[in-house]
Amino acid sequence: MNSREQSSPFSLFFKRCLEYREIGGIIGLIIISAIFALLSKEFLTITTFAAILTVTAELGVIAVGSAFLIISGEFDLSVGSIFAVGAMALALLLNAGIYPILSVLISLALTISMGYMNGIITLRTGIPSFITTLGMMMFWRGVLLAITGGFTISYKGDSFFINLFSERFWGDFTTSALWLIGITIIFEIVLSGTRYGNWVYATGGSSGVARALGVNVNRVKMIGFMISGFLSGLGGCINLSRFRLVDPTLGMGMELEAITAAVIGGTLLTGGYGSIVGAFIGAFLVGLVRTGLILAGAPAYWYRAFIGIILVIAAVINIRMKKKVSG
C-alpha cells in the first residue's frame, strides 16, 4: 500500500495503463505491426487495414461470443460447427427460394437454439461445458458432412439483403467490418454497463457468491450460451455473403482461434475477468498476422506457428500485468 503513495507521476501513469485488461493485446498489436511494417511497404496502408478488418469479421464476431461466455465461466467449443451450420442452413434456405430476410431469421433461430441445447445439456446434467460442446462440435460437423455428402453448396442469387452482410463501401472497406464493430460495441456496453453484465462477471468470478446474493446463475449462463450460438450464426451469414459458397468443413479449428482471440484480449480462462473490446483486438491481431504474412511473402503455413507464439506471449503478459496490479 505504501508504494502507492510514494510513486512518481510516470509510474502512476504506467500503473493506470496496466489496469486495462486489453493491455497485452495492444502491446502485441503494436509490436507485430512494427515487424510487418518493416517487412513490407504495403503493410501500413488503408487497403491493408480494410483487408484485415474483412478477414477478421467472422472470427471477431464469434470471439465476442466466446469471450462473453468464458467470462461467465463456461466454454463453447462448438462455435466452428455452429458457424458452418448457420452458413449452410442459410444457403439451403436461399436456394430453396425463401425470402432472404426470413432465411436469415430462420438460420439465426437455428443457431440460437443450438446454443440453447449446449446450455440445457450442460446446466441440467452438470457435466463441464467443455465436454458438452466438444461433443456437439463433432455431432454438428458430422450432420453437416452427412447431409451434404461432403460437397460444397453455393448460393447463386444476388439478394440486396444478403449483400448487406459483406458489401464493399468506401473503396476497400466491407460492411462485415461494420457488423463486427457494431457487435463489439453493443456487447461491450452490455457487459460493462448493464445489470446482466454485472451478473456475468459475478457468475464467472464466483458462482457461489452470485447465487447467495440472489443472481440466477443458470439463467445468466443460458443466455451466454445462446449469445454464443447467435453470434456464430451471424458469422455464418457474413461468411456466406462474402464467399457465396459453403464448404462442410468451414470453420474447423475456429473454436480455438476464437478462444485464442479472447485470451490475447485479456480474458481469463477461469472466468470472471475479461473484455469484449479485448476479444476484438485479439481477433484483429489474428487477422493481421494472416494478412501480414501474405504481404511479407512468407508461406501461409507459418500462420499457425505465429499465432501460437503470440497466444503464449500475450497470456504471459496478461498474467504478469494482473499480478502487478494486485501488488
Binding site: R195, N198, W199, A202, G208, A210, A212, L213
Partner: protein, 251 residues
C-alpha cells in the same frame, strides 16, 4: 410501533431437523429480541449453522415454527428472508474477488435505468453511495472502483456488513465472521457489530470462540450436538461459566 416492541424480532419454537439418521437439531427454541446481539455458540457440528439455514430458508425444518416480528413465517429461499430484512453474511461467500467494491456492494440489487430491453447500471450513484458507506465504516481510503481482491479479510467483512446495513436489514446474521482474521481486524468487525446495533439492527453472531463474542453480545445461546444446553444473559455469567456448561454436557 407499539406491537413491534411487544414481540421479539425472531422466535423459533421447537425446531427439529434430521439428516437421514443424524438428528441435527432436537426441539430447539431460539429467540432474538429487538436491537439485541445474540451469540450463537457451540462446537463444530453442534447445529449452529443448521439452525440459521432453517431460519433463512435454505432448509425446511422437519418440525417447529418460526415467527418474525410476531408473524408466523416460513421462507423457502434466502431471497424471501432478505425481502423481510434478514441479511446473512457468509464466511466465504460474501464478495466476488475479481470485481470492484461498488459492483460487489450492489450485486443482485443494482440500481438501474431501463432503456429498451437493457437495464443500465447507474454507476455514478453506485460509486457515490458506496463511497459514503466506506467512509462511514472507516475504510474510506478505498476507492469504490478498486477490486475486492486487494482488500484484507477485515475490510471484506466490513463491506459485507456495511452492505447489509445499507439495504435496511432488521436482522444481521454473521457466520463465523472473524474465523480468518487477525486480532486487529477482529476488533474492527466487533465494532461494526456494535454500530449495527446502535442503528437498531439485531445481530446473530455465530462462533465457536466465546471470547470473540462475549464483549459485544447481550445474550448467548449454546448448542451441543443438536440440543440447546443453555441461554445466558451476559449480566449473570462469565465466558468461563459458559465454556464449563458446554464441556460438561459433552461428558
Amino acid at each position: 410501533m407499539r406491537t413491534e416492541e411487544k414481540f421479539p424480532l425472531v422466535e423459533m419454537k421447537d425446531i427439529r431437523k434430521e439428516f437421514g439418521k443424524v438428528r441435527a437439531l432436537n426441539h430447539v427454541d431460539f429467540r432474538v429480541g429487538q436491537k439485541e446481539v445474540v451469540g450463537l455458540l457451540g462446537d463444530n457440528g453442534a447445529g449452529k449453522s443448521t439452525l440459521i439455514k432453517i431460519l433463512v430458508g435454505l432448509y425446511p425444518p422437519d418440525q417447529g415454527e418460526i415467527f418474525f416480528e410476531g408473524r408466523k413465517v416460513r421462507f423457502s429461499s434466502p431471497q424471501e428472508a432478505r425481502a423481510v430484512g434478514i441479511e446473512t453474511v457468509y464466511q466465504d461467500l460474501a464478495l466476488v474477488p475479481l470485481m470492484s467494491i461498488s459492483r460487489n456492494f450492489f450485486l443482485g440489487r443494482e440500481p438501474t435505468r431501463k432503456i429498451g430491453p437493457f437495464r443500465f447500471l447507474q454507476k455514478k450513484s453506485m460509486d457515490k453511495d458506496c463511497h459514503e458507506i466506506l467512509v462511514e465504516i472507516g475504510i474510506g481510503v478505498r476507492s469504490p472502483s478498486e477490486n475486492v481482491e486487494f482488500l484484507s479479510g477485515g475490510e471484506r467483512q466490513a463491506i459485507s456488513i456495511g452492505r447489509a446495513m445499507y439495504f435496511g436489514a432488521k436482522l444481521l446474521v454473521l457466520d463465523e465472521p472473524t474465523a480468518a482474521l487477525s486480532i486487529k481486524e477482529t476488533n474492527k468487525v466487533l465494532d461494526y457489530v456494535l454500530q449495527a446495533r446502535e442503528k437498531g439492527l439485531s445481530v446473530i453472531y455465530i462462533t465457536h470462540n466465546i471470547y470473540h463474542v462475549f464483549p459485544i453480545a447481550d445474550r448467548f445461546t449454546a448448542l451441543d450436538r443438536g440440543v440447546k444446553v443453555g441461554d445466558f444473559n451476559k449480566t449473570d455469567t462469565t465466558p468461563e461459566k459458559i465454556i464449563e456448561i458446554i464441556c460438561k454436557t459433552r461428558v
